[in-house]
């Protein structure tokens, strides 16, 4: 039986899709059969970041509507044996998904995978609600700024009260905080909130801190999840986060301003 993981935030553009791609790929890299599901109907971003946009035939909505079977719609990753993507529809609107439709597909995926990673759309409306409703665990993606922290807090409230687990009175969704686009220099200057500030406000377990990194943009342009760039700071930070998700104790990195050496100053950071 799969674990259903939702990657959510409330606020838009904080790195949910980047994170879904990285975490899903990281789980598959460690031998877990994983599917990443794009819930952002109408926008379709995940397939670009995963580099499979040219192979999308059927999507999530087609399966909900019975126009295709799940196995027809699942796109197998070219790099990793046990990684799949279920794309969102670009042509439908947000109302194409229903709770019953989603439940049916989630149940089918549960049978065939170890991890189902749900990439949530922004907001706290229907799309985001459907993405988190069936979740067992949630990764709450937050940027170190007040508005993002507030939205994450709001989302945590919904996870605790409006999810299937909450409504059924079952054990609550396990919540993880992932701080992304972290820039220690700007924190030092007081332009951004520090890790401790965010941790204190949200009061949930810190899964990882992903630094603001050029590597993310480069990776998404190439259609390669950044976690596969194991030389990059962001790739390494996502790797640590996957290890923690699987229960390993790993110290946090990239929290402090790096002392730049002479070579750095002469040639610039990569």
């Amino acid at each position: 039986m799969a674990k259903i993981l939702v990657v959510t935030s409330g606020k838009g553009g904080v790195g949910k899709t980047t994170t879904s791609a990285a975490i899903g790929t990281g789980l598959a890299l460690r031998g877990h059969k994983t599917v990443i599901v794009d819930f952002d109907v109408g926008l379709r971003n995940l397939d670009l970041i995963m580099g499979c946009e040219r192979r999308v035939v059927y999507d999530f909505v087609n399966v909900v509507n019975g126009e295709a079977t799940l196995s027809q719609a699942l796109i197998k990753d070219k790099r990793l044996e046990n990684l799949y993507v279920l794309a969102a529809s670009q042509t439908r609107d947000k109302d194409a998904l229903t709770q019953e439709g989603v439940e049916k597909i989630i149940n089918e995926l549960r049978e065939n995978f170890e991890y189902v990673v749900c990439d949530s759309p922004a907001g706290i409306e229907k799309g985001a609600h459907l993405a988190m409703y069936f979740a067992d665990e949630a990764i709450v993606v937050t940027n170190p700024e007040v508005s993002s922290v507030r939205d994450s807090d709001r989302m945590l409230g919904l996870l605790a009260s409006k999810s299937r687990r909450a409504e059924k009175g079952e054990e609550p969704i396990k919540e993880h905080l992932l701080l992304t686009r972290y820039n220690p220099e700007r924190v030092t200057k007081g332009e951004m909130l520090g890790v401790e500030d965010v941790e204190e406000i949200l009061a949930i377990r810190l899964l990882g801190v992903i630094p603001e990194s050029q590597a993310v943009l480069k990776a998404s342009n190439q259609g390669v999840p950044v976690i596969l760039d194991d030389q990059s700071d962001a790739g390494q930070a996502y790797s640590d986060a996957v290890d923690r998700l699987l229960g390993k104790e790993v110290p946090h990195r990239f929290l402090d301003v790096q002392k730049k050496g002479l070579m750095h100053r002469l040639f610039g950071a990569r």
């Binding site: 706290i124 507030r150 807090d153 709001r154 409230g157 009260s161 609550p172 406000i201 009061a203």
Partner: protein, 243 residues
């Protein structure tokens, strides 16, 4: 017209319809000895019920074969037990005659409008005024997030986890927050000016007691911002004191 003529016109009475609750005693048997005994038991249970209680004697359910009833004796038996007969309800020829002889009104047989009553036993002790009901406090042990609202109706609210900015706590009684408090807290929302707010770490957006409030702008200037505080109302001013 003379004064006396005017007085003659003045109505002496007025007829009014009324629905009275009257006890009906329906006899099942023509057995005065047993009736005496059983009535005595009832009276012992509920003495207050049997004191000059108006009564209709229903004789219409008496079986035909049970012989002539001594109505005079029945009425004085009832009277001994505190029941005053106003009328009888009868269908047997003999009973109707007996009632007419005593000048007692005779009502037609049962219209099946009554229901059996069981006089409630008298309260044992003189009744005390009811104790005010104690409503258990509402206790919240998971974080109250932005956009969430918690209301303790008719009770105190106790929160053991952080309260986020954008969250709202309401209570008819007191509010206690044993964790960082960054949201809104409104105690005594139904107007209880004696309600209080206790915060372990006060960083609130708004604090209010019985409608008298302070917003973050004022609260942030308070030297006790971020500290453990105790908030009460004196007159219409919120008093913030160190806990």
């Amino acid at each position: 017209m003379s004064q006396a003529d005017l007085l003659d016109q003045d109505p002496v009475f007025q007829l009014k319809g009324s629905m009275l609750a009257i006890t009906v005693m329906e006899l099942a048997h023509n057995d005065l000895a047993r009736l005496d005994q059983q009535l005595g038991e009832k009276v012992a249970q509920a003495p207050a019920f049997f004191s000059n209680t108006p009564l209709v004697l229903a004789l219409d359910k008496l079986p035909e074969g049970e012989g002539t009833l001594d109505l005079d004796a029945l009425m004085s038996l009832c009277r001994q037990h505190g029941l005053r007969t106003l009328a009888v309800r009868a269908s047997r020829e003999d009973d109707i005659k007996a009632a007419e002889a005593l000048d007692l009104p005779v009502l037609p047989p049962s219209g099946a409008r009554e229901r059996p009553i069981d006089p409630a036993p008298a309260p044992v002790a003189p009744s005390k005024p009811a104790e005010p009901e104690l409503r258990p406090s509402k206790i919240i042990s998971s974080p109250v997030r932005g956009g969430q609202q918690v209301y303790a109706q008719g009770a105190d609210l106790i929160v053991l986890a952080p309260v986020s900015a954008g969250a709202e706590l309401l209570a008819d009684g007191n509010i206690h927050v044993y964790a960082p408090m960054r949201g809104r807290a409104l105690a005594g929302v139904k107007g209880n000016t004696g309600a209080r707010i206790f915060c372990q770490q006060m960083g609130a957006e708004l604090l209010s007691i019985a409608g008298h409030y302070k917003v973050a702008e004022d609260l942030r200037r308070d030297p006790l911002w971020g500290e453990a505080v105790h908030v009460s109302l004196s007159g219409d001013v919120l008093n913030i004191k160190r806990l």
